[in-house]
Amino acid sequence: MARELIIEPVTRIEGHGKVTIFLDDDNSVKDARFAVTQFRGFEKFVEGRPFTEMPSIVERICGICPVSHSLAAAKACDAILGVKIPRAAVKIRRLLNCGEFIQSHALSFFHLSSPDLLLGFDSDPTTRNIAGLAAKNPQLAKDGIRLRQIGGHIVEWLGKKRVHPAWVVPGGVNEPLSIEHRDMMLAEIPEGIEIVQKTLSFFKRIIEEFRKEIRTFGNFPSMFLGLVDKDGNWEVTDGYLRFIDSKGAIVVDMIEPTRYKEFIGESVEEFSYLKSPYFKPQGYPTGIYRVGPAARLNVCNGFSTPLANLEWAEFKDLERGPVLSSFHNHYARLIEILAALELEDQLLRDPDILDTHIRAFANVNEYEGVGCVEAPRGTLFHHYKVDNKGLMQWANMIVATGNNNLAINQSVLQVARHYMNGPEITESMINRVEAVIRAYDPCLSCSTHALGQMPLQIKVVNNRGNILSEKMRD
């Protein structure tokens, strides 16, 4: 009899997700689905609100990456104002995004994923968390917390709040950077670089132990999407869209993000509240593309900062074409933290950064605007339409995790097929299904609480919906 295996909730990710694995009569894995079980409704309930509130409203989508949402929203609002924002505002927003990348990637790598990497995928789940990590390798845990703090400081010292700062506004930002805060940020960079370089060498040492996971964690050919700067280098705040294929050939390049709809279609599946974007020219569902840290490193020609560029070259040597295994998102995340710290240093040493002309004012000049940035988890699009009074009429958002939806589904299927041996549901398989999702660091809700403490519920359900067996893990 065909069976369904449900893993709900998936732990140590941001938000609430569920995995259903469909088994055939002979207990072989037929299909797997990753579903987001909560409905948010932001695109709908912002209708009728003044567009100037958007950067702060959309920040509430997420407690981990509010900065990314506010930046994408502010850029869409800039387009509605029809203004070119002051040079200092452009740079200071880029600085803010550095803080976001450092703190969010540090959270993902150290807090959510490193327990798997350091303690092993098959270790006791009750201690396979940040507390268990702190017991086994206190320095690594401390480093993670410190790095997150360094990133958090940038956000806090610019926006006065570490989470949900109301500082990025349509037309720029609402307060300049003070000399005092610039110096405080500069003082923390060397320690940040030291930590991330130390962690990179540690990661490169242990990576050999995960050959099997690297081979099976979302390791399949797909397209990749990311922003690049005008020279084709890594860029996360103001760039152009670039798609590459699974062989690394550039398919679409130097496209203004305002044209995203020409290349990205959006499909909806009944089982999930998360939509499934796809590469339009290839159609649905074959147009799978991936975004995020590894995708960004795959699409770019390199980094404009020296230390990250060296690491990037080494990363690219992992494979001949693009790095296909989603496991390597962990690796890419560390390189991106390094790049963000270097970029932060460059920006802070730019005299423009202290300029007090930081905001352009205007009324509604365009009825439509698109804003796009790279969020830590991937490319993020906000697209708004307003009426002549500036009230929101329509909104469309493609969040990073949405871009990866098809790829996550495929990765779960790959892992389930590889680790499902016979009718028994093994802890080992469940751990890896969760871990492959974690490699994408999906942001499902999103909220600030880590779900590591939540129980994992596993159900085996037959095709009539009857529960055949149930397992709880505290």
């Binding site: 009728g48 609100r49 003044p50 100037t52 509130e53 950067p55 702060s56 409203i57 509430r60 949900h164 109301a166 506004v169 349509p170 609402n174 004012f361 009324n363 009074k389 500036g390 009230l391």
Partner: protein, 238 residues
Amino acid sequence: MKKVSQIQTLVIDGKEVGGRHDETILQVARENDIFIPTLCHLDGLTEYGGCRMCIVEIKGMPRLTPSCTTLIREGMVVTTNSERIMEYRRGILALLFTERNHICSACVSNGHCELQGLALKLGLTHVEFPYIFPKMPVDATHDRFIADHNRCVLCSRCVRVCHEVEGAHTKDIMGRGITARIITDLMQDWGESKTCTGCGKCVHVCPTGALTEKGKSVAEMEKRRQFLPYLKLMRERS
């Protein structure tokens, strides 16, 4: 013949105080640094007595009384912050929050809002009544201002300042009870108003984010109200 002020003495919160016979309990309390929370009251405008935040207990009277509209009397004994009063104030405040859509985190007045400030001051951490979530309009037709009825508490400060200080009487209240709403002229769009002078006083006396300047982003709308007592004084002189 000019009326002579009489001085009357009373007790507020155990403290013996005195004031003119035409002063309210609220005025005398404030002159003596005794805190009574208010929302619809604003120095420079006539008293309205609508919000009931300033209720106090008067010895010998079974019901609670708004201190902003009650004149002092010789020998009065007033209590301003008993547990009973605080419970009622928190209840009133909670009902205000449930009546419209006050989402502080995405409000232009976040951090500068009197309603939010009162909730903090009075320790209103949770609202136990069900929220109504009414569908309220946003009037963004004016060139410079926005009226967001989701955030209005019907304190009528805008109505009073427009009538009493600006002399335009553009704003008024339509309907009764839960259906009451601030209107412009005869319920026209603000941008269409023939009487509005665009002075912006209503915006600056509004205690919440209901009346704001266009283009302000979240938490950016700070109100300036210092002008009001001065304007009032100058009007009285002339």
